[in-house]
Symmetry: C2
DNA sequence: CAAACATGTGTGATCGATTCCACAATGAAC
DNA sequence: GTTCATTGTGGAATCGATCACACATGTTTG
């Protein structure tokens, strides 16, 4: 790999002059300019951003830790980040925790060792070990999706979103509503969405049978299985089901259809997340749009402010949401 | 940020000894060990991978250039890469070209300046400028999705896949088949899939009306519009439509349904790509699975072999495919 | 005419690690 | 009692850039 010294030698100047030429700082004579640019052209020299980073103590790289790469939510969030970061000359170093709590912490350490200028953590839990690890980082961090204490965070309004969606279901005349949730280790999706659901019911004086509430992981097939359990364990059947993600909702619809239910006539279904497919399944899925791209942009913006020192110590931002009422809810 | 020199000073040894301790190379006395590990513990020291990279001339970072982050195909491919790369201690530096040819080249240069150990390029075109740029890189490159001359590549069997899918449609009794393609700048999707389609028809003595063949971009709505044009411009209507991506196919189905067509009775539809949603739209979409995760894994594997020097100069790999026959084709 | 300024260039220190080499001390082998 | 491993340590060069500073020359300015 050709270096600045090679260029200097071949152009008959010192490396300082070459540096000045490249960075357009200080004086460089016309003659030197010509020589240098000719040599650079000939050799295809590209300055080492690496060496530069070491000297300047900044890398122009942002570490992004996400639970899983191949989910629509994540790719939309990361896309939003990239749009903002690329604008400012930053690149994204991707780290997937594969939904493993220890790996998540490991990845944070790894990013720190690479001296990234900042980290965006799309967290799925709020365990003390994770908080501890984040606190010990000597790099600005922004959390997305979970509200971490003393850390800048961008969160979705999970509680209110679930609550208004549930109210929408109630408004449609349903009083017996099933619920497909996820593990409570995921505070936002597992706890807050469930709480929003239950509070909306309580406020309207509705109650739930135990069999109506099921827990699943994040896949479509988990939704299918959870729906099967719901049907199996219910003494009386609900007339609507709220699933905390669109994928779960799609799974629920699959099972219901398989069991001969007329949708949405015999059973209404609602999801959350406004996934791509939600608009194209039949019946089109009623859901909540969380503006994921925007969340990515906002988090990147907050991080950049923190990096350039133009920020309050800790910034909290809550994303807006939007109900998408479609055919699956009547 | 605490450095190896700080550790050395506070532990009362030289930085050489600290380095030996960290890398478990050479001798370090029990006493020195204790001191050093105590100081490291107390300071939370993390060695700079950056400085290490400069010295060792390797970064353990792989650059990945993709056309767009928020597409299912890309996130699946990148996911596959990450699985392999993480195993070997590599991280992914993500670069999105946003479907812009110049930016694609720019990103390659940028990755080179960061001294990544290798680059995986998910290309959408084969323009001479791109080939030139790739050739000038002094970093191992693997191309995915397009067959670039003299560059290791992992390609999908686009021609055969389109051909067998078309034959499947013919086998189902259709002889008048519409086609929704994309711009020919994308050689794999634009040219090869169309060629597969046309060759299958030719071999079976079928012909196409001009209005039956439409071109669109990659979105669902582009599929909707293309289908509308197809209906509008056809003198006699086809009985089946092949779209070169699932998203286009879903768009086609939307338009057809809106126009009152019974699916698949009055019009069969097939897509390509085995997207997540393909199984859950109604009717379930017949499509071709390209094993995207696997393509990511294979490309990462080839790149790693090239980096460690255990590779043939140029390696070409063609991915397998699999027909998924579902309800949308009768 | 001396001082001040503009133009142009190079030396050497620095960023934070690794590694070659020299060198000490100790004990074992011949 | 040399010689030779073994154990243990640190000095200095190195990777590829930036930058403060010294220095040289030519041109203005008072």
């Amino acid at each position: 790999m050709v270096t600045i010294n090679d260029i200097a030698r071949r152009a008959g100047v010192s490396r300082t002059t070459v540096s000045r030429f490249i960075n357009e700082s200080g004086y460089v004579s016309e003659k030197a300019r010509e020589n240098i640019s000719r040599v650079i052209e000939a050799t295809g020299y590209v300055p080492s951003e690496q060496a530069k980073s070491l000297r300047l103590k900044r890398t122009k790289v942002i570490g992004v830790v996400i639970p899983k790469i191949s989910t629509e939510t994540m790719s939309r969030v990361v896309n939003g980040m990239d749009e903002v970061l690329q604008q400012e000359g930053y690149q994204i170093l991707l780290a997937s925790s594969s939904l493993d709590k220890e790996k998540e912490i490991e990845q944070l350490k790894l990013l720190e060792s690479r001296r990234v200028d900042g980290i965006i953590l799309v967290a799925t839990n709020r365990e003390p070990e994770l908080l501890e690890a984040v606190k010990n980082l000597s790099v600005p961090v922004v959390a997305v999706g979970q509200h971490l204490p003393d850390i800048s965070s961008v969160v979705y309004n999970d509680y209110e979103a679930a609550k208004s969606l549930t109210k929408e279901i109630l408004r449609a005349g349903h009083t017996k509503i099933g619920f497909i949730g996820v593990d409570e280790a995921d505070y936002s999706v597992g706890v807050l969405r469930k709480k929003g659901f239950l509070d909306a019911l309580k406020e309207n004086g509705c109650s739930v049978e135990s069999g109506w509430m099921q827990t699943a992981s994040f896949s479509i097939s988990a939704g299918e299985e959870a729906a099967a359990r719901l049907l199996d364990q219910s003494k009386t059947l609900p007339t609507a089901v709220l699933a905390v993600t669109d994928r779960l909702a799609v799974g629920v619809m699959q099972t219901l259809r398989k069991e001969g239910f007329d949708l949405p006539g015999e059973m209404a279904v609602a999801g959350m997340g406004a996934s791509d497919m939600s608009a194209y399944v039949t019946p089109a899925l009623t859901t909540v749009d969380y503006y994921y791209e925007e969340a990515g942009k906002v988090s990147a913006g907050i991080l950049l402010k923190a990096i350039t020192g133009r920020a309050k110590k800790v910034e909290k931002s809550q994303m807006d949401y939007r109900l998408l009422k479609r055919d699956s809810l009547r």
